[in-house]
C-alpha cells in the first residue's frame, strides 16, 4: 500500500515549523553568525590599510563612502543580521531558562568552556562596544572634532579617516576600551565560530577537535589584528 504523503497542509507551513523548531532557531543564529564573522574579517582587512600609509586608509574610507545608496543597503542588511542574531538567541535563551528552572546546588560546569558559558554576556557587551564604536568613528559624536577633519586626496577634499583614527586611539582610556571590547569579541568568537560548524552540521567526530582549535586560533588572530592598531598608535608606530 502506498501511504498518504506525510505532509497534511492543515498545520503551519513546514518552513515555519523548521524556523521555530529548536534546530531552526539555532540555524538562524549560526547563519547570521557567518555573515558577522565575514564582516569582522573584511573590516579588519580594510583596517590594515592604515599600515600602508595615510593615503591608503583615506582612499579605502572614501571608496566605502562613495558607495552611496548601496552603503545603506549594506548597513540595513547588517542591522537585520544583528537583529536576527540577537532575536533568535533571546528566543532560545528564554526556552532554555524554562527547560532548566532548578539549578544544581553543587554546580560543576563539567565539559563546558568559559567562552561557551559567557556567550550572552560577551555578546551583549560586544553589542555595547559596537554602539560605542559607531558613535566614535561613524557618527563621530564622541569627539565632534572628528567631523571636521579633512585632507586632500588626489586633488579632492576627503574626510581624514587616518587622522581621526590616530587622534582617537591616542586617547589611552579609549584605546583600553577598544582592547577590552575586542577581547570580549574574541571570547564570543572563540565559542561562536566553532559552534556554527556544529549547528550547521558541518563537522564530524574526526574533524571536530581540529575545527575547535582552528576556529579558536582564528578568533585570536582577529583579536591580535584588531588590537594591533590602537597599540601601534599608542606606541607611536603609526602616527
Amino acid at each position: 500500500m502506498i501511504s498518504a504523503p506525510s505532509q497534511s497542509r492543515s498545520g503551519p507551513h513546514p518552513i515555519f515549523l523548521w524556523l521555530f523548531s529548536s534546530i531552526g532557531k539555532k540555524t538562524v543564529v549560526a547563519l547570521s553568525g557567518i555573515v558577522l564573522v565575514l564582516f569582522v574579517t573584511g573590516h579588519l582587512l580594510g583596517n590594515f590599510t592604515i599600515y600602508l600609509g595615510k593615503d591608503w586608509l583615506n582612499w579605502y574610507a572614501e571608496h566605502l563612502q562613495s558607495l552611496g545608496p548601496m552603503l545603506w543597503v549594506i548597513r540595513l542588511f547588517m542591522l537585520a543580521t544583528v537583529g536576527a542574531h540577537i532575536f533568535f538567541t533571546m528566543l532560545l535563551w528564554k526556552e532554555n531558562q524554562a527547560a532548566r528552572p532548578k539549578k544544581y546546588i553543587a554546580s560543576d560546569p563539567v565539559g563546558t568552556s568559559v567562552f561557551a558559558r559567557t556567550m550572552r554576556l560577551s555578546g551583549l557587551i560586544v553589542l555595547g562596544f559596537i554602539l560605542f564604536h559607531l558613535a566614535h568613528f561613524t557618527v563621530r559624536i564622541v569627539d565632534p572634532a572628528f567631523q571636521h577633519m579633512d585632507t586632500m586626496l588626489d586633488g579632492h577634499e576627503v574626510h581624514d579617516c587616518y587622522r581621526m583614527v590616530v587622534t582617537g586611539f591616542s586617547n589611552v582610556p579609549v584605546s583600553i576600551l577598544y582592547i577590552v571590547g575586542l577581547f570580549l569579541l574574541m571570547m564570543h568568537l572563540s565559542h561562536g565560530i566553532g559552534s556554527l560548524f556544529q549547528t550547521l552540521g558541518l563537522t564530524n567526530r574526526r574533524i571536530h577537535p581540529l575545527i575547535e582549535t582552528v576556529t579558536r586560533a582564528y578568533a585570536w588572530l582577529l583579536y591580535i589584528g584588531y588590537i594591533s592598531i590602537p597599540i601601534s598608535v599608542l606606541t607611536g608606530i603609526v602616527k
Binding site: A98, K102, G201
Partner: protein, 252 residues
C-alpha cells in the same frame, strides 16, 4: 571509608524538597555508589528514618536507570553510570552532594527519583523501524561501509539514561535524540523513514520542553556510553535537509 552526604529529600512531585545531611560510616572502598546508599539506607531504617529513594535496576551499567547527580555531575565523576562508580573514587571523609537529575522535562517524583517518560515519548514519536526487519540477513549480503557501521554502533551505545539533558545547562535532550537518529538513520533498515523520524523526534523533544543545544558539550562529558557530541551535528544536518524536503513534499 566515611563520607558526609548532602542528599536531596523531597516527599513527592509537588514537595519543596531540601538537602538533608547524613553520615555514611564503614563504607568499603570497593562498594559502588548505589551500594553505599544501600548501606546508608539500612542505617536510616534502623534509626526509623525514611530511607532515601533512588532508581536502580541492572547495577551493571547497561540499563540507564540510575540517575543521580553527584557533586553537580550526572552519574558523578568519571565515565559510566552511577552503579559503576566506586567509592574509591572519593576521598575518605569527603562531602558528597547528591541531587536528582535536573531538567524541567524530568520532574522529580520523590527524593532522587525522576520521571524520564519524556524520553520514552520521544522514542515513541519515531525512534523505531516500522517494517519488520526479518531475521538476520546473510553476512555481507547488505554491504555497509565500515565507517558507517562504526558510527551507527557508537550511537547505538546510548542507554537513554538522561544524563545528557541533566548535565546540559539548557536541559537539552539533543545528544539523546541525535544518538537515536544517527543509530537508526545510518543503517539500511532505518533509512527508508529517516526524514520522518528526524522531524518527529526533534518536534517531540521540543514539545516535551527540553531546551536547545548551545554546544556546551557537557552532555558528551557525562555520557556513560561515550556518545560523541558530533552526532548532534549529524542530527542538525539531517533535520535541516528533512525540513527542506518536507517543504517541497519529498520527505521519505
Amino acid at each position: 571509608m566515611k563520607f558526609y552526604l548532602e542528599v536531596w529529600r523531597q516527599k513527592g512531585p509537588d514537595g519543596a524538597g531540601k538537602l538533608e545531611h547524613y553520615e555514611a560510616n564503614d563504607i568499603p572502598a570497593e562498594a559502588s555508589f548505589l551500594e553505599m546508599l544501600d548501606i546508608v539506607n539500612e542505617d536510616l531504617t534502623k534509626k526509623g528514618i525514611e530511607p532515601i529513594q533512588f532508581d536502580s535496576d541492572c547495577r551493571e551499567g547497561i540499563c540507564g536507570n540510575c540517575s543521580l547527580t553527584i557533586n553537580g555531575v550526572p552519574h558523578g565523576p568519571g565515565r559510566g553510570t552511577t552503579c559503576q562508580l566506586y567509592m574509591r573514587k572519593f576521598r575518605d571523609g569527603q562531602i558528597i552532594t547528591i541531587e536528582p537529575f535536573r531538567a524541567d522535562s524530568f520532574p522529580v517524583e520523590r527524593d532522587l527519583v525522576v520521571n524520564r517518560e519524556a524520553y520514552d515519548r520521544i522514542m515513541q514519536a519515531g525512534g523505531f523501524i516500522s517494517e519488520r526487519a526479518g531475521s538476520a540477513p546473510d553476512a555481507n549480503s547488505v554491504p555497509i561501509p565500515k565507517v558507517v557501521a562504526d558510527q551507527a554502533m557508537d550511537a547505538a551505545a546510548c542507554i537513554g539514561c538522561g544524563a545528557c539533558a541533566a548535565a546540559c545547562p539548557n536541559g537539552s535532550a539533543m545528544l539523546f535524540v541525535s544518538a537515536k537518529v544517527t543509530h537508526l538513520g545510518l543503517l539500511p533498515q532505518g533509512k527508508p523513514e529517516n526524514d520522518r523520524r528526524v522531524l518527529k523526534m526533534v518536534r517531540q523533544a521540543d514539545k516535551e520542553g527540553f531546551g536547545n543545544c548551545s554546544n556546551y558539550y557537557a552532555c558528551e562529558a557525562v555520557c556513560p556510553a561515550g556518545i560523541p557530541a558530533s552526532v548532534i551535528a549529524h542530527l542538525n544536518r539531517n533535520f535541516s535537509f528533512a525540513s527542506i524536503k518536507e517543504s517541497i513534499g519529498i520527505t521519505v
